[in-house]
Symmetry: none
Subunit: 295 residues, 2 copies
DNA sequence: CCCAATATGAAAATTTTCTTTCATTATAGC
DNA sequence: GCTATAATGAAAGAAAATTTTCATATTGGG
């Protein structure tokens, strides 16, 4: 419910005193908050079948100088409380500040995941899965803070018997590693915030050799994403705070799920084959029923 | 990723051909989508320090009649896809059983996170953070599917200038690695589902040498948790499905947050020191303002 | 039902936003 | 380094949005 908006409270306060047409305006604003923030007085007047003058008077009755001020106030509220990013920031701020409160961490992760839904579309996801399955070998790049992501994805994919190579190198070694990659392969790279030399090198070489690139990022600046064939984009929280890897991990999961469902029985077969091999060769000498490992 | 917006795609298409100032406009729009939808051309010109005329030309270069048309297009996209809840609803409704539906993945992750709140108590979390800070060196173990978790935690902790060693080894090598660890250190291990030989070896040696162990697990079977000093326990979903690492990553985040808040200014200092070093030695030779990396 | 007080809409006046023009500056090709 | 071409900003001009005015309509007490 709408709160703490000066305008909103004023509307409620004065609602009973408002004349007929102005009640109509008040009703509409309360019910269609997120429309009104984008409407001019003329359009609002048309929608409501009320004169522009009356809308101005309505605004003035609420102690605003005029309609633009009223709208500014509505926009302020809208942006502060109803926009995904803002709501997240706020919910983190307002939480009790106990650093050992797991609920707090979870709460903000959930908000992040929810907003990520807005930015990952199933088209790209499908494209990504196709590219993975089509590739001769999948090369997963991810450095420093993103090594864990590269590791996670490459581990899971290799369990489906896909040819996957994890590359967590930087500097000149990067070129060497890239020598063997060609256009029938796929490069997956995790890269956040700003582009680095290594990233640009990678993208340049990929372009030169026509190697398709799947980029997982929180940046949507053209220099960053222009050269990538497929981009999966998700915010990881407000800049300046510690960035969580929960959203990228969820993206990995989506990719893994997608690949698994495409492979169908073959995925299951690959996994059980692995478990067979393991049982026979490595763990069969050990006590009874706890030899397995989770999938 | 922003899609299906004519404007957005047109910006990407034409980005390279755009002159200097207009690139600036393109960058700002892409980065601050949700600001621009509320700005007049005058205000945008002020923010960007670009003339209004140039903004009009930018809009026209994108095949719009003028600025209002461009804005209308941006608003349309914003309202369709970025409004709270809209997109989530949309994608869940439109494709209930599509394996490429990110919203579905996210929903189940959210459920898992929510239930994890009940099984992680702040007492254990606090204990865990204390143990990390008290330890001489933190040894983070995590194999195969859990290597990414070990990598994630050790990377972040080492950024706080803590002594952290990641150990992703198995078999006999494990013994060798454990030789150097003593009771003033801390072992962190990620272990799910069932115990393995390696796990028992680790726990046995730890017990013998009185090394404290922090165990992150989804199992509460006594053989699993008995020997660990601290246990953080969370479900990762029903057996038989692919197990997501989202919950363990969230646990890592909680640990990292806790450590950061305990270190207070020192954490910030360590991070900014790192960024200084990097700036001076590695990236200072490169173009302008994009040398950084995220934290 | 009538009258005063208030509310309303149409249209004019004003303000703000947007577009075009034109002189100046930057850029790319030679 | 020079020149042709394109890009830019300041300011004028056009268009749209907003406010005010004023004549008319509505409302609520007597």
């Amino acid at each position: 419910m709408i709160r703490q908006s000066d305008s909103y409270n004023r509307i409620l306060e004065k609602y009973d005193e408002l004349p007929r047409q102005q009640k109509k305006i008040a009703d509409y604003i309360i019910r269609h908050f997120d429309e009104v923030v984008f409407l001019s007085i003329t359009k609002l007047a048309n929608v409501l079948q009320v004169s522009e003058a009356t809308i101005v008077r309505f605004a003035q009755n609420l102690d605003h100088k005029g309609f633009p001020e009223l709208k500014k106030d509505l926009v302020k509220y809208y942006r502060d409380y109803l926009t995904p990013g803002e709501r997240m920031k706020r919910s983190i701020q307002t939480m009790p500040d106990d650093p050992f409160n797991f609920a707090r961490v979870v709460e903000s992760e959930i908000e992040l995941l929810k907003s990520a839904v807005n930015t990952i579309d199933s088209g790209s996801l499908k494209q990504a899965v196709d590219a993975i399955l089509r590739a001769n070998t999948v090369y997963v790049f991810g450095n420093s803070g993103n090594e864990c992501l590269a590791n996670h994805l490459s581990f899971r994919l290799s369990r489906f018997k896909l040819k996957v190579v994890q590359q967590s190198v930087s500097g000149k070694n990067l070129f060497e590693k890239m020598l063997v990659i060609d256009k029938n392969d796929l490069i997956i790279d995790y890269h956040f915030y700003k582009s680095t030399i290594d990233f640009r090198r990678l993208m340049d070489v990929a372009e030169e050799k026509s190697i398709p690139v799947l980029l997982v990022t929180d940046s949507i600046l053209p220099p960053m994403i222009k050269k990538a064939k497929i981009v999966l984009h998700a915010e990881r929280g407000p800049a300046g705070t510690f960035h969580s890897q929960v959203v990228p991990v969820a993206i990995n999961n989506a990719l893994i799920d997608g690949v698994a469902s495409r492979l169908g029985d073959n995925a299951v077969k690959a996994l059980s084959e692995l478990s067979e091999i393991r049982k026979r060769h490595y763990y069969s000498d050990f006590s009874g029923n706890d030899a397995g490992e989770d999938i």
